[in-house]
Every structure is written in structure tokens, then in C-alpha cells.
Amino acid sequence: MSQGEILVTILGMALVVLLCRSAFMLTRDELPMPTWLREGLRYAPVAALTAVVAPELVLTQGHLITDWRDARVFGAAAGLAFYVWRPSLFGTIVCGTGVMLALRFGLGW
């Protein structure tokens, strides 16, 4: 692609992303939507977060990990344990990443 084409591509991307983000923000009218769907959609954001995280933790190059010695899984478990002990976001991030790095560089997992 030429620089000009990339520029057009980028501007279009920006518009597409903004349209997705503003999809439910543009109109004020009552949304024609059945109650069951409204209730169900309440779970969509948490599903979106989980759906991004889960593959990052248990897949390598698109395949399920087969070796239990995977630094990421233990890092995530350590982070979760920290969160249960103390629900601090910063602590969870530092603890999980620290354990992952320690296993990767300390034990070579």
C-alpha cells in the first residue's frame, strides 16, 4: 500500500471503531428490544473481557498447551490467588507478572 492508501485505511478504521463504540450511544429513543435480550446483554461486557483473556493464558500458537509447566498458567493462578487474598488490581498485576517472569527466567519454563 502507498502512504496515501494507508492514510485512507487508517481513517476508515477510526470511523469503524467509533461506530462500534457509539452503537448504543447515538440514539436516545427507547430501544426496541425484548426484556430477555436486555437481561442477557448485561453479561456481554464480562464475556468480552473473559474471551480476550482466556486464549492468552491457555493457547500457544492457537493450540491448547500440553505441558503443565507453563509459566503463564502459574502466573495467572498466582495473580488470582492474590486477588482473592486482597482485591488490589495493582497487586494482582505485579504478583502475576512477577511469578510468570520468575518461572520463565528462573526455571526456563
Binding site: 487508517i10 467509533l18 463504540r21 456481554a44 461486557p45 464480562v46 473473559t50 486464549p55 495467572a76 488490581l89
Partner: protein, 230 residues
């Protein structure tokens, strides 16, 4: 506003490291520094940017890049749906501004602080959101710019991306209050892994659909149980 900013600062480490990783990926794509900076400034969506890079490098047709961006960004509609009741009273310009700033982090921080699903009178939702979103935006843009400028000077083996994953994991934990939200999250996680082979991150859309179905079912079961008990 200050409260929103303060609640977002703990996650800034995750935002910054993920931004750095995205910036390095952009630097390696070979589109040049000015366009890379412009792209992160106007799209402000890490996953969509990274998905577009190989397509641009491979000279794919523009509509393919836009189509991919659309698929990767569909999950933002979930956040849009959540925020709607809190901001629908604002003028259109401000609603679009808020939409531009929406992301995983400010959604999770906001929903944790305000668990209600309808806006209550007299609560400073907008101020809180803006405080939180601006902190996220600044950390992200600074980090991704550093990544773009330093490029391959930052080794991938630092595990920086993992800090971003841990940040998302922690944010997900803040959203799991009820058994049905647990069920929805587990189903979404399994579906996203099972459907990973789908192109253009459509596994995320599949996972959301599955979790919404489970959500509907569990609400039904809950109301049926309530009705059955005296």
C-alpha cells in the same frame, strides 16, 4: 473526576505495558512512524490496530482491513450497551466523545464503582468516567508512542504483554459478583478458546453470544425459582 482517575491508576501499569507491546508491533510493521502515531491516536484500539498490521503489510484490499476492524471491534458494542443509560441525557457531541474513549479498563472500573444498571439521580457518572478514561488514554498513548519510537529496542522476552493480560484478568475478577456472572464468564472463556481458530477474532463474538445465552437462561431459572417459592 478525581475519584475516577484514582481508581484507574492501579491498572496503568497494565495499560502501559500492553501499549508498549502494541507500539513495538506497529514499529515493526514498516508503515513509518508518522502513520503509526496517527493510527494509534485516531483509532485508540490496540486489538484492532494489531489485527490490521499484517493486512496492511500484505497489501490486502482496504475493505478487508475495515471488515477485520469491524469484527475485532464488535465487542465494544457490549460496553456501549452498558454505558448507554448513564450518558443518554448528554448532547450528541459529548456522547460521541465518551464513545471514543470507551475501553476495557474504563468499563470495568466504572461498572465496579457503579454496579447499578440504571442511572440514579445526582450521581456524577460523567465526571467519574472522564477522569478514568483520560488517565487510561494518556498512559496508553504515551506507552504506544514510546513503543513506536523505540521499536525493536525493546526485547519481546520481557513478558511485557503478560502484564497487560494480568490487568485484564484482574479487571475481569472485579466483574464477577453473582453466580450467573461466573457462569457467563466460564462459558465465554471456554467458547473463546474452543472457537479460537475462527478468523478475525470472531471467537470473541461467539463467546459473547454464548455468554448472553447463558445469562438469559440463568435469569429465567432465577425468576422461575423465585416464583416457585412461597
Amino acid at each position: 473526576m478525581r475519584e475516577g482517575a484514582r481508581d484507574t491508576l492501579p491498572i496503568a501499569l497494565g495499560i502501559a505495558s500492553w501499549g508498549l507491546v502494541a507500539g513495538v508491533a506497529m514499529a515493526k510493521s514498516g508503515m513509518g512512524v508518522p502513520l503509526a502515531l496517527l493510527m494509534s491516536l485516531v483509532t485508540y484500539a490496540g486489538s484492532a490496530q494489531i489485527a490490521a498490521l499484517p493486512l496492511i503489510a500484505a497489501d490486502a484490499p482496504i475493505w478487508v482491513v475495515w471488515g477485520t476492524t469491524l469484527c475485532v471491534s464488535l465487542r465494544f458494542m457490549a460496553f456501549s450497551f452498558h454505558f448507554r443509560p448513564f450518558f443518554s441525557h448528554l448532547p450528541l457531541g459529548r456522547r460521541i466523545g465518551i464513545s471514543f474513549l470507551m475501553g476495557d479498563t474504563n468499563f470495568a472500573v466504572f461498572a465496579h464503582r457503579f454496579p447499578e444498571t440504571e442511572a440514579l439521580p445526582g450521581v456524577g457518572y460523567t465526571d467519574y468516567f472522564v477522569g478514568s478514561a483520560v488517565v487510561g488514554f494518556v498512559f496508553w498513548q504515551v506507552a504506544i508512542s514510546i513503543g513506536i519510537l523505540l521499536g525493536s529496542g525493546i526485547p519481546a522476552s520481557w513478558g511485557l504483554g503478560f502484564a497487560g493480560v494480568m490487568a485484564l484478568l484482574a479487571l475481569t475478577c472485579t466483574q464477577l459478583h453473582t453466580p450467573s456472572s461466573w457462569a457467563a464468564a466460564v462459558v465465554a472463556g471456554c467458547a473463546a478458546v474452543a472457537a479460537y481458530a475462527l478468523p478475525m477474532k470472531l471467537n470473541v463474538v461467539v463467546a459473547i453470544a454464548a455468554a448472553v445465552a447463558v445469562g438469559v437462561l440463568s435469569e429465567r431459572i432465577a425468576s422461575w425459582r423465585k416464583g416457585a417459592m412461597p
